[in-house]
């Protein structure tokens, strides 16, 4: 039950793009066409699903205050929390590079559709943000961390699909609707003429 709750919360309520404004750069840059936006969304979901549980393990067994106790009792006094940025980003960059190599080797078709986005993913704030929020919200177990990763990935995917559809629709329909207005000489024709004159002057 708590899995479903966390899933819906991370997809809709705490949506990466709309609630915390993460991953804005690639969100604005790669949302011109629905097909490419779809590829990037899938890649983000994929990488978030892998890196959030991995970073949960790192956080619980290495980074938290006294987390290294399982290795040796004398290590209990260490607090490596200040290293979390560097370890998280190293995990993400390594995973992205590994995924790129593996996918290239075993599934060239998938590589062709996802491959160009993988380097972009390493610097997507949504990926690092997912791990940092996982840390600051103190998610209690690795299963929940996995759910959180999947949920935020789906949320980001839906968000970029939405904006890409809107942008594509607007770009193709503006010309068509103005042509309709122009040829049928209906209301609004004056605005078309006006707008054309403004543009011509420029």
């Amino acid at each position: 039950m708590e899995h479903i709750e966390l899933l819906f919360k991370s997809i809709f309520i705490d949506n990466m793009v709309f609630a915390t404004f993460l991953g804005m750069c690639s969100y604005l840059a790669v949302s011109k066409k629905v097909s490419t936006a779809n590829g990037l969304g899938a890649a983000v979901l994929f990488v978030l699903t892998i890196t959030v549980p991995l970073n949960w393990l790192l956080d619980t067994y290495v980074l938290q205050d006294g987390a290294m106790k399982w290795l040796h009792p004398s290590l209990e006094e260490y607090n490596l929390n200040f290293l979390s940025f560097i370890l998280f980003i190293a995990t993400i960059a390594t995973m992205v590079q590994l995924v790129e190599i593996v996918v290239e080797k075993f599934s060239p078709a998938l590589y062709n559709s996802l491959g160009i986005f993988l380097p972009l993913i390493a610097v997507n704030c949504a990926i690092l943000g997912g791990s940092l929020f996982m840390q600051s919200r103190e998610i209690p177990s690795i299963e929940l961390a996995l759910t959180y990763g999947i949920g935020s990935g789906i949320g980001w995917w839906l968000a970029i699909l939405a904006i890409a559809s809107i942008r594509e629709k607007i770009r193709y329909s503006i010309k068509r609707s103005w042509n309709y207005v122009y040829y049928n000489r209906i209301d609004g024709y004056w605005f078309y003429e006006f707008w054309r004159n403004v543009n011509r002057r420029r």
Binding site: T20, F21, L22, G23, M24, C25, S26, L28, A29, F82, L83, S84, F85, I86, I89, A90, I92, A93, T94, V96, Q97, P119, A122, V123, N124, C125, I127, L128, G129, L132, F133, S136, R202
Partner: protein
Amino acid sequence: MGLLSKKDSKLILDPLSDNNPITIQVLGICSALAITAELEASVVMSIAVLFVMGAGNVVISLIRNIVPSRIRIIVQLIIIATLVIIVDLVLKAYAYELSKTLSVFVGLIITNCIIMGRFEAFALGNGLWRSFLDGIGNALGYSLILIIVGFFRELLGSGTLWGYPVLGDAIDKTGLYAFGYENNGFMLLSPMALIVVGIIIWIQRSKSTHLIED
């Protein structure tokens, strides 16, 4: 400028106007949206990015011939992360309240696309001094927009500048508030930063028409 040759000063001045990282290249938007509700936070963020970009570009330019291109993204990210940790620790030591306001966004300097973008596009192919100037120039271009947005959002949103009430007291109804002026709380929300940046882009492109695409 006497200190810099003409080519070098172009590296600093270009990103301030015609090649601005935020308004022209549309990079580094996340932090520009998230932390510009107060002027102080935007200034501190700008200084942090200035330090990380200047130092990072120098380091990358020094090691550009040693690092194999297959693993260069990991190396770049680790260098940025190290510099960001320094910034984070300094902020926690000297400005604890502010570091709470900035919260995860200090960490997210790591994934600021401007920094990676300049590493890839400039520092990997240029010498030390030119890379340093390029880093400083781009960070200044970023800071310029951040400070403009922060200024307007804080002034219109909460009626203060750097924490000082410049428009009078909203509760006692003094100054401008005596005439019925109200703060626009909407300016404090992140979407308004997007709109303010959009207005800046609009003004810039209508002033210099060669920037308009199509």
